[in-house]
Structures are given as C-alpha cells and as structure tokens.
C-alpha cells in the first residue's frame, strides 16, 4: 500500500522549472532518500508534498486521497510531518513548548496525553537536558534534533527530513542516525533529503536522484550509487 503518490508533478518559478514531471510511489513503512546537486529542486519537492507551495500541474495523493489543493495544516492532520532545512524553532518557546504546539495542533493530543507524548519524544531524541530551555539558545545539533522532534510530535505517518545531518560533526551524525533509525523502526515512513551520503545510506532502502527538477532515477541504494549518470552529476566525471 503506497502512503504517498506523486503523479507527474510540475512546478515552475517564472522561466525556471524546479519540478519537472516527477512521479513517485512511496510505500508505507519505507525509508526513501532523495539526493541531487544544489538547486535540483529537492526542497521544492518537499514544499509540494507538505503543501507549502502548490504545483502547476500534477497530483499529490496521501493514502490514496488527493490532497493537491489541501493546505499545509490539513496535510499535517493527514499525517505529514516535516523538518526544515534551516531549523525554524519557535525561538521564544522552550523545547517542551515547541513540541506541545505540534502535539496539540498537529497531533490532536490534549492535556496530559500531549505532555506524555512530548516527553517520550524528548527522551527519544536526546533533548531531555534542554527540555525547558528556550529553543532560540540551542546549539546546531540541538536545533536539528528539535526539528526532528517537533515533526515527530505531530504523530506523522510520513516524515520529511530536509538535510537534517548537514553541518554536524561525525559523532553528532552517528547519534542522529541512531535516533532516525529508531523512528523508522516504529513504522514511520521516512523521506530524507541529504548530502551526507554515508548517513543517508545507512538508513534508507531506496534512493531517488533529482537533477534540474527531473527525476533521474530511483532504485536500490547500491544500484543508484553505482549508476554512471549519478557519478557524473556528483563527481563531474564524463562518461
């Protein structure tokens, strides 16, 4: 059963086509990685899935329901959680309060139930020591964890992670991978955009390659990584 279906999705900003006829099926419980050079349209694809921007043509289906015209709020309620590439915490709220917003509005939890779910996510993402700290004063790793934790708090079926490992040290990266794996193990579907390939490939089962808005290929991690076209894009090797 596919949880997300994209049907020939296209989006242009003026003369620039950032998403060009992308079609994709993501199965429930799957972990999919999206790679591609800067400006390939990866984040735009997330914005289209999360509803932050509307496509020029094509359709987005969640659990078989067409949500192409649905607002970001409606898609959160339909089970899409997202993290932003540049962390966007509610900076005057604490970590706990950030999560409470997501749990109560996105996850539909109330009162003690919401607190409980937030606390377990705080523990899972290693934010316990800073739970009551204002999120504006967090370190980069903590901000990235908060992005992940806040997206988790909306109780998503599908979670979109946008370059969540970028800018972290190796040690921090390993810890984050562990957390993401544990989220995946709970059955949450993951779509993850990442430049840190070793991090990405240790979690995802499939890779999709975007280039100039077009889907270049999609397939097993090994198959994609060894494809000449991918090497050409990433390493600039003429083949």
């Amino acid at each position: 059963m596919s949880i997300l279906t994209l049907k020939s999705l296209s989006k242009s900003f003026g003369a620039l086509t950032v998403t060009d006829d992308v079609s994709l099926d993501v199965m429930a419980g799957e972990a999919l990685g999206i790679i591609g050079p800067n400006g390939a349209g990866k984040s735009t694809l997330f914005n289209l899935i999360a509803g932050n921007i509307k496509p020029d043509s094509g359709h987005v289906l969640l659990d078989g329901v067409d949500v192409t015209r649905a607002s970001p709020m409606e898609r959160v309620h339909a089970g899409v959680g997202r993290s932003f590439q540049i962390p966007q915490p509610f900076s005057h709220l604490s970590v706990f309060e950030n999560l409470m917003v997501a749990a109560q509005f996105g996850g539909g939890h109330r009162g003690a139930e919401a607190e409980c779910s937030c606390m377990s996510i705080i523990e899972q993402t290693g934010l316990g020591p800073v739970a009551n700290d204002l999120s504006g004063g967090l370190s980069l790793l903590q901000r990235k964890r908060l992005e992940l934790a806040r997206a988790m708090s909306t109780s998503p079926k599908l979670i979109l992670l946008d370059e969540i490992a970028g800018g972290l040290t190796d040690g921090e990266c390993v810890a984050l991978i562990k957390t993401i794996k544990s989220i995946h193990a709970q059955g949450t579907t993951i779509i993850w955009i990442e430049h840190v390939l070793h991090a990405l490939n240790s979690v995802v089962e499939r890779l999709m390659v975007l280039n100039f808005g077009k889907m270049l290929m999609v397939g097993d991690v090994d198959e994609v990584m060894n494809a000449p076209a991918v090497k050409e894009i990433y390493l600039g090797i003429e083949i």
Binding site: V76, F84, F90, M100, F105, E115
Partner: protein, 349 residues
C-alpha cells in the same frame, strides 16, 4: 537575594492587599477618587485587550475605537429605544461589538502589518460616520441617557442605602466596581487563554508563522478568535465608559485619541507582549497625567517623547526592563515539562 518562594509570597500579598484596597475605594475614598480610578481602570481594560491583540496575536489595530463606540451606542439603544437596564446594555454592547468584528476581520485580515493598522482605522471611521446618521440616537450631535437612568440602574438603590450616599455617587461606585471586576476578569481570562493550547499556538505564530503552519496551527483562525474576543472586551468597556459619562456623541465614542492612541501608549510603555505590561503602563500614565495636566500641550509632547524613548531603548517596555534586570517574571506563560514544574505564577529566570 530572596528565594523564589518568598518573592511569590510577597507578590501574592501585595496583589491581595492592592485588590482589596481598590475594592474599598468607594467606601473609604472620595467621589473624585472613584471617578479618577474608574478612568484608569477602563483604560487598563482597553490596554489589556489591545495587548492581547497586538502583543500576542500580532494584530496591530488602530481601529479599536470602533468597538468602544459600537458598544456605547448599543448600550444607549438598549436604554433609550428598548427601555432596558443599562447593565443589560453593557452585555449587549459586548456582543454587538463582537458581531462587528466579523465583517471587520473579513476586510482587515486581507491586509498585513501597517496596512492592517490603516485598514482598521479606516473601518472605524466608516463605522463612526454610519452611527452619526442614526437619528434616533441624536445623529451627529449625539444624545444623553434619559434623566434618572443611572439612578435607577440595577443595584444602585441598594448601594445608595448601604453606603448612605447620593444616587449619583452610588452609580459611580457601581460602575467603578464593574470596571474593577472587568479589569481583573480580563487579566485572568488573558492569562488562562494564553496558557491554553490556543495561547501556545499564538506564541508559535508570533515566533514563526511558516513553521507554525507546518505543525498544524491555523494562524487565521486563531487570530480571528483573538480579534473577536478582544472586540467583546473592548465593546463591554465602551458601554461601561458611557454609562458613567451619560452622554454619547460620535466624536467622543469613536475617538481614536482617547480609546486607541493612549491605549497603545500605555501598552508600549508598560511592556507589550507581557501580561503585567498594561498594568505598569497605566500606573505610569496616570502619574504622568496628574503631574503634567496643568501644562496643556506640553503634556502631550512629553508623553510622545517618552513613548519614542521607550520604543527605541526598552522595546519590551518598563516591565520588560524590570524583568530583565531582576529576573522576576510575573504571570509567566511558560509551560514546563511534567517532572520539572515550578510554581507558574512567578519565578526567577
């Protein structure tokens, strides 16, 4: 340094004594004092509402006088046209103001920032011009409450007997107590609203609109709620104000200076976006007014200059400055993770 518990107790004691003294003013104080404090309390109510609107929902409205005026006129209509008790008119005033907020939001919510401010002002002017056409309530020249209305108002004869004062003093006492209760209720309602799920959502929107949408918060819906609720509070306050004034004209009821400009000044000086801010602001404003009222125009020049200085150098107002320096937070809105919950009423940062 005092510990948190002691500070809590001291503040609590101050609060209780202060409120008790305020309640006792009509019994122990002069009538002039009652009238003076009535003015202060009504300004406080307006400032509390505007603070919720602008400081927490980011809706910088310059058209709140529309709700004051509509509340006042609705109360007058209830008394003069329907023969109801003025106190019923107060409630009706609140609901009519809330009803006006619906079409007003419909237009003004299409605008953002400075355009929203101008838009609300324009709507308020249109509403004023409309009410100036209402011949039954005196049109452009306005009208007065029928003679004896406030003397026979619900509760006034009892207060008159109890305190042994004239009818007009008893009616002043009643409107004063109503203003005090309304100010306390607004403070309490604001506190509980902001600490609720909706209040947390509002704070999230204030910090980051796009991220708030991405976790399922609907900014428009939340802001519309705040707009309607503060319209209700402002309308009630407007009706109460004009019971005491007993005469209404479109200019007085829809005065942008009296019901919005001073109110913005009070909120900004005291500390916009903090709950104690309007209280601090109104006390400061009252002291300034008393000290400078003999100097005419100079008073407004000083007022404006102080407003500019605070906006430039203490953006969170006098309360924000005090809170940052001492680390004392009153009526904090912070929510704590379950196992680490200190007293939410006051704590040291």
């Amino acid at each position: 340094m005092l510990d948190q518990k002691t500070i809590n107790r001291i503040l609590m004691a101050f609060g209780i004594v202060g409120v008790a003294l305020l309640f006792a003013v009509p019994i122990i104080g002069s009538r002039a004092m009652v009238q003076d404090l009535f003015g202060v309390l009504t300004l406080l109510i307006l400032a509390q509402n505007w603070n919720l609107l602008a400081g927490f929902a980011g809706l910088v409205s310059v058209g709140q006088q529309a709700f004051v005026g509509v509340g006042a006129y609705a109360m007058f209509a209830c008394v003069i046209l329907l023969g109801l008790d003025p106190l019923v008119g107060i409630l009706v005033g609140g609901f009519v103001a809330m009803a006006l907020a619906v079409p007003m939001a419909f237009f003004a919510f299409r605008l953002a920032g400075a355009y929203f401010a101008i838009g609300t002002w324009v709507v308020a002017e249109i509403v004023r011009l409309c009410f100036a056409q209402w011949k039954a309530l005196g049109g452009g020249t306005g009208t007065s409450l029928p003679k004896g209305t406030t003397k026979n108002m619900f509760g006034v004869p009892e207060i008159k007997e109890l305190l042994g004062v004239s009818s007009s003093a008893a009616s002043d006492a009643l409107t004063y107590w109503l203003a005090l209760v309304l100010a306390l209720a607004t403070l309490g309602a604001g506190y509980f609203f902001l600490r609720s799920r909706m209040g947390l959502g509002l704070q999230a929107i204030r910090d980051n609109d796009e991220a708030a949408r991405s976790v399922g918060v609907n900014p428009t819906r939340l802001k519309a709620w705040v707009f309607m609720l503060t319209a209700f509070g402002t309308g009630i306050c407007g009706a109460l104000l004009f019971i005491q004034i007993t005469r209404v004209t479109p200019e007085a009821a829809f005065s942008v200076l009296d019901w919005t400009a001073f109110v913005i000044f009070i909120t900004v000086i005291g500390g916009i976006g903090t709950l104690p801010g309007p209280i601090v602001g109104v006390v400061f404003f009252y002291i300034l007014q008393r000290a400078l009222s003999d100097y005419g125009t100079v008073y407004l020049i000083v007022l404006g200059s102080i407003g500019i200085i605070v906006m430039l150098f203490a953006r969170r107002g006098l309360w924000g400055l005090f809170s940052d320096k001492t680390g004392i937070e009153l009526l904090s809105l912070r929510q704590y993770a379950p196992e680490t919950k200190p007293n939410p009423l006051a704590q040291i940062k």
